[in-house]
Symmetry: C2
Subunit: 331 residues, 2 copies
Amino acid sequence: MSKDNLDVVGIGNAIVDVLSRTDDAFLQNNHINKGAMTLIEAEEVKSLYAKMGPGVEMSGGSAANTVAAFASLGGKVGYIGKVADDQLGEVFRHDIRSVGAVFNTPPLRQGAPTARCLILITPDAQRTMCTYLGACVLLTPEDLDEAMIRSAKVTYLEGYLFDRDHAKQAFRQAGKIAHAAGRKVALTLSDPFCVERHRDEFLDLVKNHVDILFANEAEILSLYKTDKLSEAVAQVGPHCEVAVITRSAKGSVIISGNEMIEVAAEPVSHVVDTTGAGDLYAAGFLYGYTQGKNLAQCGRIASIAAAEIIAQVGARPQRSLSQLLKDKKAA
Amino acid sequence: MSKDNLDVVGIGNAIVDVLSRTDDAFLQNNHINKGAMTLIEAEEVKSLYAKMGPGVEMSGGSAANTVAAFASLGGKVGYIGKVADDQLGEVFRHDIRSVGAVFNTPPLRQGAPTARCLILITPDAQRTMCTYLGACVLLTPEDLDEAMIRSAKVTYLEGYLFDRDHAKQAFRQAGKIAHAAGRKVALTLSDPFCVERHRDEFLDLVKNHVDILFANEAEILSLYKTDKLSEAVAQVGPHCEVAVITRSAKGSVIISGNEMIEVAAEPVSHVVDTTGAGDLYAAGFLYGYTQGKNLAQCGRIASIAAAEIIAQVGARPQRSLSQLLKDKKAA
């Protein structure tokens, strides 16, 4: 357990992804909402898994992907999340520690297995997620490593945590600890349907408890119940120190006070799998932020990290992002 | 459970692979024999796993890779192998069934976990394997589905099975059942070190019990204790109906009676990971063979399948090999 100061601590759903190629017909036949994250129960995950094609397992979880990428960028980072005491939990623990992240949350000894996310990748490189939360939502305030949170410049929370009460309590508690230590709190809204399920609570968080907000276009429009991006931008401006809206191939918009910066997307020759694009964007942005870069530089590093992950399968970078930044002269 | 006639039934070590990128220094520092398969025990796999980088899990096992590829080519195929009643065993079962292979071997209820192979991929695309056999070597003659073996045109056995006594018994028994039903028995030698460990038994098998032999250059040289390929070719000729020697980029040689056919390797623009090259070659060859193709055609299909797998990460094909054969006009 490192008691060194960290740049970022991420708190989220500790999940192992099962990636599988499929087609649109499979999604339609199984009534799965393409491009979204749908929560499914133990029986459903069993039945869907039995129907789908062969898979590849790799550690996932939105904030955990961000943490792994942050480590690959060269930052000091920790993670808090709940796995079970099983083989997939061991896979998750190994993968996040092996990139250099501090991860000491005790595993769940009894009850649900480690969370799994069935990620169905269609030929258009779009990912559709069906998540069985299992052990990960049994994260409780007692699992929070307060010293770690106090030591980190930024505590980064994923909106997906909001889908269960225990985790939600841990989420709020982490924010309080961070702010009490004079640290920043960052949040990603995670998914437009997640925002719809918890809009009022997210609005309260964004207005009163979050310093740095990450959202994609669909999420920010859902949060402010509008179909005009300009209106969402106007509303979010006064709510956070920094708000970042990602717009896929259209790049991203960074809003801070009266300042608005448009960042171009980094070109990608061939998009293979969009899994993790938002997670890696957040990693790059927070890396720049905690290194004292200006917002435009943060946006550029974020875009480079996001472009790298959509050119490969899966949400964990397969080569050193630190080296990539040097190659792109963005370090 | 299908009681239909099968083209091939594969019997082998049921293993889940953990693929990880590394460098030559890591192999040297950990005294790992580059390019080979080394057997490791439970404590060693734990310690090596803790030291290595993040991994990606996917079903593996030499004969199982062959079976999965055979199914992808469009053949009717079954598999016999032992997993444990755990999460990795479930992954293995799902993956082989989801491609259409028949797999009904009951899992091990108590004792060792599902076998794992740590596959370390160096920047030269070479794979080095460290295997913890766990449950897979507890395959016994009782696990053999005799009806399935009798129904299959070819029973395909992997040499790796020879590393433990129980599995070796099952291996010999399967060959007997197949021959008693008038079927063919195929064997792959698997690994030069495996051949060294069991040379006399392999020689006896090849001389007396195997119809179709697969070996790479290092394996066949080790089997006949020679450093001249021509000598090994002369020796193996009278021992089997068909012997195939694979030679990586140099293609392959098919020996049958007095006939010797040289097959060019299929061109690959960029070799990513050589894991599974031999397994896929065997799948392609056996697919041609069970479809009644001539030996040159069998070699061409084999080369196409092998080329496909080394251009991707992992030993299970990510796209339909049946379609690939059509595209290459080799169906």
